[in-house]
């Protein structure tokens, strides 16, 4: 399986505070295939952003600590690399786009300077060459009048333009993996659709792999090849996108899908998942979803299920998919 650009195995990241050890990322394993898009979906506090920050080596330290597992990128374990090495990979091997482009761009540097900075940091090129490439990138992400934008500061741009500038910066060194953390959440729908199709177009052009983190099932359906559903730090379901929507197996996944108001038909009342996501310091003893699950049994409250293969390429963390479930 050399065609996986990223292999995460059994990744555990915990925070340590007065409550003791809080597992924010709990035995997470997944692969990102070359040229494909992996979607990670879940509600706030489910660990999807933390997982991506771990991959980038940007998780909050020293409160947070990777306590187990490995992140293999280009054959090297990101969890064991010294900061200097990580620094070389970030921005070049893998790059990240954040949710709020306003807070992740430097407000006192022009867009051009910020893109050039990335290029000059990773490649030994002259200022002129860097400027030429930065211009090229700005034009590639569909910004009109690249010269004008090159010399603009972030506050002079609209949200959509800022996100495009972020993408230009992220792609400026030809990364093999692009991590997008809620790239369109802060944007309007028409702009969101522009940005998503831009990401898809650039993916086809450059062959980069994408890890897309979002809470929007519609975005997942339109963008991802495979999907991970996370809940309270754990992967609860993992499948090819079409398979996941056709056969959502974990009660959390089906609950999530059903709580979205459908566009094509009328429903009187939306389906809801009772309760709310547990805090990390009050995780239930058994299955993390058991207190909110309509199918929960005594076994669910007492034991944590492992993730098992329900069908080819479809993994679920639920006792209902294991032998011995009687369907109470």
């Amino acid at each position: 399986m050399s065609d996986n650009i990223l292999q995460v195995r059994d990744l555990c990241m915990s925070f340590f505070n007065k409550h003791g050890e809080l597992p924010a990322v709990n035995h997470v394993s997944f692969d990102v295939e070359r040229g494909k898009t992996l979607g990670i979906v879940g509600e706030s506090g489910c660990g999807k952003s933390m997982t991506s920050l771990c991959v980038m080596g940007l998780y909050p330290q020293p409160q947070g600590k990777i306590v187990g597992g490995s992140i293999l990128f280009q054959g090297r374990d990101m969890t064991k690399l010294p900061p200097r090495e990580l620094h070389k990979i970030r921005g070049k091997g893998m790059a990240m786009i954040f949710q709020e482009p306003m807070t992740s761009l430097n407000p006192v540097l022009t867009i051009g300077d910020q893109i050039m900075e990335t290029i000059r940091l990773h490649e030994h090129v002259s200022r002129q060459e860097a400027k030429r490439r930065a211009m090229e990138m700005i034009a590639m992400v569909g910004i009109p009048m690249p010269e004008k934008i090159f010399a603009s500061c972030p506050h002079q741009l609209s949200g959509g333009m800022r996100q495009r500038a972020m993408i230009a910066m992220a792609l400026s060194c030809d990364p093999e993996l692009l991590i997008c953390d809620e790239p369109t959440t802060a944007l309007d729908v028409t702009v969101q659709s522009q940005i998503l199709s831009l990401i898809n177009r650039l993916k086809a052009q450059t062959g980069t792999s994408v890890m897309l983190i979002t809470h929007d099932m519609g975005v997942i359906n339109e963008m991802a090849d495979t999907v991970i559903v996370m809940y309270a730090g754990q992967i609860v379901e993992q499948a090819a996108t079409a398979d996941l929507f056709a056969h959502p197996t974990h009660p959390y996944t089906s609950g999530l899908i059903q709580s979205i108001p459908p566009l094509n038909r009328e429903v009187e009342e939306l389906n809801v998942i009772p309760g709310s996501v547990p805090m990390l310091y009050e995780l239930p003893k058994g299955c993390l979803f058991a207190p909110r699950c309509p199918y929960a049994t005594a076994r669910c409250a007492a034991e944590r299920p492992d993730i098992v293969t329900a069908s080819e390429g479809h993994q679920v963390r639920c006792f209902r998919c294991m032998p011995g479930w009687e369907g109470q």
Partner: protein, 322 residues
């Protein structure tokens, strides 16, 4: 035909901006520019549009939190814009507002009980303190809040719970109209579903009317009877929700609907991708405000502003094409 509960005619809100030029150069931002609609009792009007289209300003103008520049708001057969003093206070009791940000809209130094009770304190609709508490308990129950939390402060609650407090506050003195300004936009989908169900239930139980402002077209479709689409302060299309979603006539509405990320099985026409961003409201395009991004724009669109015309049974559209 009976009078509608709310009739808004030609509502305008202009802001003037100093441009920094010598001799007091000024430009006008037309945040809401000539909006008209009716709302029947017990119905929900959804207002959708992208950021900066004036939908929130419109909501606040209707309740006169922001004074309208011109226009008439008829509430229950009474000209709400002409009222002042005690009359305004009395009429305002019929309208309530629920805000988007459940963190910023609750006073952090007041307990839940006092936040909800403030409305009835002002009008003093109770005889004894016990009566007041009973009423508060009743609406907390209606809004799905745990009664044990009466004496807690807002920071102890999650986003969804806070939105319930906002709702309880709005209904403690039963209003006729509730203006919901993006009430679920800050919430996760599963919490969002609960709040929407609650709003629908309260509407049924209390006969409320809603103006539901949101940028999320699927949520608006679910909760509304009629939907209005706004762009740069103008109403582009206003129709019964079924005809709006199945047969959108305005190119902007078509683009908005096609841009929603769809789930499997939901009809997917080809995406209409709009070029560029929303123009600045301080410097709106001439003619039809959408012509700069419209795939069908003709020369006339840049010159003449299309009026909102009736094009079908309860279907209104502002476009030269129809």
């Amino acid at each position: 035909m009976a009078e509608p509960l709310l009739r808004v005619s030609n509502l305008k809100k202009y802001y003037s901006l100093k441009t920094g030029k010598l001799l007091g150069g000024k430009t006008t931002v037309k945040a809401v520019d000539g909006i008209s609609f009716d709302l029947e009792a017990g119905q929900t009007l959804g207002i959708v549009g992208e950021s900066g289209c004036g939908k929130s300003t419109m909501g606040k103008t209707i309740i006169r939190l922001i004074e309208p520049t011109s226009g008439i708001i008829m509430l229950d057969g009474e000209d709400f814009t002409a009222l002042s003093g005690q009359d305004l206070k009395r009429a305002r009791r019929k309208m309530k507002l629920i805000f988007q940000d459940p963190f910023a809209s609750l006073n952090p130094r007041m307990t839940v009980k006092d936040i909800i009770g403030e409305n009835i304190d002002i009008d003093h609709t109770y005889a004894t303190k016990a009566e007041r508490d009973d009423r508060i308990r009743e609406v907390m129950e209606q809004s799905g809040l745990n009664l044990d939390y009466m004496d807690r402060y807002p920071h102890e609650f999650s986003g969804g719970q806070r939105q319930r407090i906002g709702i309880a506050r709005a209904i403690v003195l039963p209003p006729k109209l509730v203006i919901c300004d993006e009430p679920v936009s800050a919430l996760d989908v599963s919490i969002q579903a609960k709040i929407i169900n609650l709003l629908k239930k309260l509407q049924k139980d209390m006969g409320l009317s809603y103006i539901f402002i949101s940028h999320d077209l699927s949520v608006v479709k679910h909760i509304s009877d009629r939907v209005g689409v706004m762009y740069l302060g103008h109403m582009m299309e206003l129709a019964d929700k079924r005809s709006l979603y199945s047969n959108p006539l305005n190119p902007y509405t078509q683009a908005l609907i096609s841009a929603i990320p769809k789930l499997p099985g939901e009809t997917t026409q080809d995406k209409i991708e709009l070029a560029g961003d929303i123009p600045s409201p301080a410097n709106p395009p001439t003619g039809c405000c959408f012509h700069t991004r419209c795939p069908y724009a003709k020369p006339i669109c840049a010159e003449v502003r299309p009026e909102l015309k009736q094009v079908g049974d309860d279907h209104w559209c502002a476009c030269h094409r129809v």
